[in-house]
Symmetry: C2
Subunit: 457 residues, 2 copies
């Protein structure tokens, strides 16, 4: 937290505790909704929060409400009178209302819907129907649109009349009588044009659009590609049904990155901030993969049991000491590749059609890396490990050569798994990252044991 | 690639090959710069690219140029005449010019600067001075500003006169005579206000600002918190020196997520798209950590050598077979926690002051998870592993109990490392993720070997 924010928070607490509510409101009017929500969340208990919320200047209440975590939103809604609830909902953008509703239990949802305007209620019900990961689920229906035969002046009049409650006014949409999207026009274009100019003459007719059922991650990435402030969402008939604004796209980009990191770390995705997650929900998100990976490690135990006595007979256990190093290095090498490829797939830098370029590149890289690591390992074995263990030159060579082979194998597995997962429409982050280690562990053990026994026995 | 895009690309190729340049230009005018750049990059060789670029409609040339990868930009610049280069540069936003310059070799930079307007050259040199990870490095100096005594009508006139070349016109900045930032006003506010209203009356005076030297990741996160389209950048005296627009913030958010994933996977960060990276640069990014981790695995070899003969004497190698499973599960368990905490730190969901809450939570979770995994492991040992290896009840109990202890240890290490790294101002993603495995490997081996020997020998 910045120093300024700290001071603002202290002032708020002072005014709130000493009941200087007029001063409190003046401070609040100068603050961002997100910061007010943070203050409430960090400083106030449930009772105080409800009292504090009632003190918020009317024009801020909805904006602050949107920024509050959903468990506190629920407590507030339960404390609200119907009139208070209606006031908050009426001032919220529809997509925000939908976001709130999605986190609430059924009885609270019912109260919210009952207290919405009938037209809003219809819209909310429409928006709630879109699948959770679709562009439709993050769009809003509050946009400005007009017909191509309007003049710039008409258009500005319309913006002045209806713009106050629209999520963005800077990109406006041009539709025909059947609501089919035929163009977009920005306020910048309109400001730079003559007042009497027809919208038809200045609108852009080749429009990048989203489809309602398009994946929301793909939709968000269009923003980072094309630098738009808003994108129109159309249905299968090309009719305009809503817009997605860049702020919602930013949230999606953040969430999807978090999700991918969780998946790579063998954790089931969880949208809530860490400190808001219950111990039980964290347990639930982490235990399945950990169990699966533990059980699949049975293979490594089986392999080791199989080769155990032979390995011990050859080297009096010396070979054994390098198993963790070999498996660890193979795992790390594979992980480097799989994470790189998973991210490149997510960003659209790589697609399945690049599969041979990727394999070729990874094999070249793997050979160079494997060689470097193998040479370093040989030197390490000879100069360091020899200090505490008697290592023959044969053992040093075999361990180093096996290291080269396992690094190459691990990098091949690491690039193939995510590409194949993507091809068969599975999530590369889920399939590739946690499984990769098990596969690489098993393969590197087999290579090591069989080569050592073949060459040394 | 969508079907529409495929068709557009085929049309382009047809017109280009059959030299129907008038038709080509018509198609190009309807396309987004990013897509044109993708077409050139994917389809054309170097010579064709230069020829194609010269065919671009004048108003598109700079926008397309910005979207081309830097190695191709370099080839184009080298092929340009001075006049062509000047035309492209003059039409680019200053922050984009700076981005291009940062990737070019010295002689190309010199040519770009020589062909810039003198005032632009001064600005570019100023912008180039900011550190690579600062808000200053991603800002542009092309914003709209006016004085508080202007009327809304004056302001609109100014926007009409100067707005065409500004990166955004929708948020305008109000400064005093010394260029000190005193407020912001949006075009929306101005459109909804009376024409004769003074800007002083409608501007927002409590402004969220960025400092030139603020970390650019923190700057980008302010966009996701506050939903702004642009944020002003001020120097230490509070004077307005530039703005950051949301599209640049989106790029930073994407890049930082990619970087964190790379660091977690023990890869040095590399900004280029995967397919653009040379084999040598990939080698350079991956080999250092892999080497370090391989060498640090010496500890595990030492521990195993130390306990080797005793472990073998007790159990004829049965205990050995579970080493990979134990180390793997501990590593996975630790990784789950460290990645979760690293991401929570990056998002600002957790700070160092939460250290005790995090530890308590992780210990509770770790106990539950450890217990689940240990029970599952016991059953697995007894019912599955018993099929191929003779496992006494004592061994099954010891392996399961050690598993519980190592999972708890791993999760403790996994949450402490990133928090401590953050506290001492190191990068949690670098310090915590790759090192975590080595520490957890060593500790779990020690716990396993010493407990097994103490209880079974």
């Amino acid at each position: 937290m910045t120093e300024n924010m700290q001071i603002a928070f202290e002032k708020l607490s002072f005014c709130f505790e000493t009941r200087k509510f007029a001063d409190l409101r003046i401070i609040l009017l100068d603050m961002e909704p997100y910061d007010i929500a943070s203050y409430m969340e960090e400083t106030l208990d449930d009772k105080e929060m409800i009292m504090f919320f009632r003190l918020l200047p009317k024009e801020l209440a909805s904006d602050v409400f949107v920024e509050i975590p959903s468990d506190s939103q629920e407590k507030l809604i339960k404390a609200f009178t119907d009139k208070e609830l209606k006031a908050v909902i009426d001032d919220m953008y529809l997509d925000d209302t939908v976001d709130v509703i999605e986190e609430m239990p059924a009885n609270v949802v019912k109260r919210i819907l009952i207290n919405s305007e009938p037209t809003d209620r219809r819209m909310i019900n429409e928006l709630l129907k879109y699948p959770d990961d679709s562009a439709g689920s993050i769009m809003t229906t509050e946009y400005v649109s007009f017909s191509a035969s309007s003049t710039v002046e008409d258009a500005f009049d319309r913006i002045r009349r209806t713009g106050l409650n629209k999520e963005t006014i800077y990109t406006c949409y041009v539709t025909d009588r059947k609501k089919k999207l035929i163009g977009v026009v920005t306020v910048k274009d309109m400001l730079l044009a003559d007042k009497s100019e027809l919208i038809a003459h200045i609108m852009e007719t080749s429009v990048v659009t989203l489809n309602t059922h398009e994946d929301k991650e793909q939709a968000a990435f269009k923003f980072s590609k094309y630098d738009f402030l808003a994108l129109p969402v159309v249905d299968n008939e090309g009719c305009l049904v809503g817009i997605v604004t860049v702020d919602d796209a930013v949230d999606v980009i953040q969430e999807e990155a978090t999700e991918d990191m969780q998946k790579m770390a063998a954790v089931l995705p969880n949208e809530k901030p860490y400190l808001k997650q219950s111990v039980f929900s964290i347990w639930k998100a982490r235990v399945p993969w950990l169990l699966l990976l533990m059980v699949s490690a049975t293979f490594t135990s089986m392999i080791l049991s199989e080769y155990e006595s032979k390995l011990f007979a050859i080297s009096q256990g010396v070979l054994y000491a390098f198993v963790p190093m070999l498996m660890g290095t193979a795992g790390n090498a594979g992980n480097q590749t799989s994470v790189t490829v998973i991210r490149a797939l997510a960003l659209g830098d790589v697609t399945f059609k690049d599969v041979f370029r990727v394999i070729l590149k990874e094999l070249l890289v793997a050979f160079l890396i494997g060689l470097t690591i193998a040479v370093a390992c040989f030197l390490k074995l000879y100069f360091i490990d020899n200090l505490y263990n008697e290592i023959t030159i044969e053992v040093a060579i075999i361990v180093s050569v096996v290291l080269l082979i396992t690094v190459m194998m691990a990098k091949l597995v690491g690039c193939l798994l995510p590409l194949v997962a993507k091809k068969v429409k599975l999530d590369p982050a889920v399939v590739a990252s946690p499984f990769m280690t098990t596969i690489v562990d098993v393969l590197s053990l087999i290579i090591y044991c069989s080569m050592a026994i073949a060459l040394l026995a």
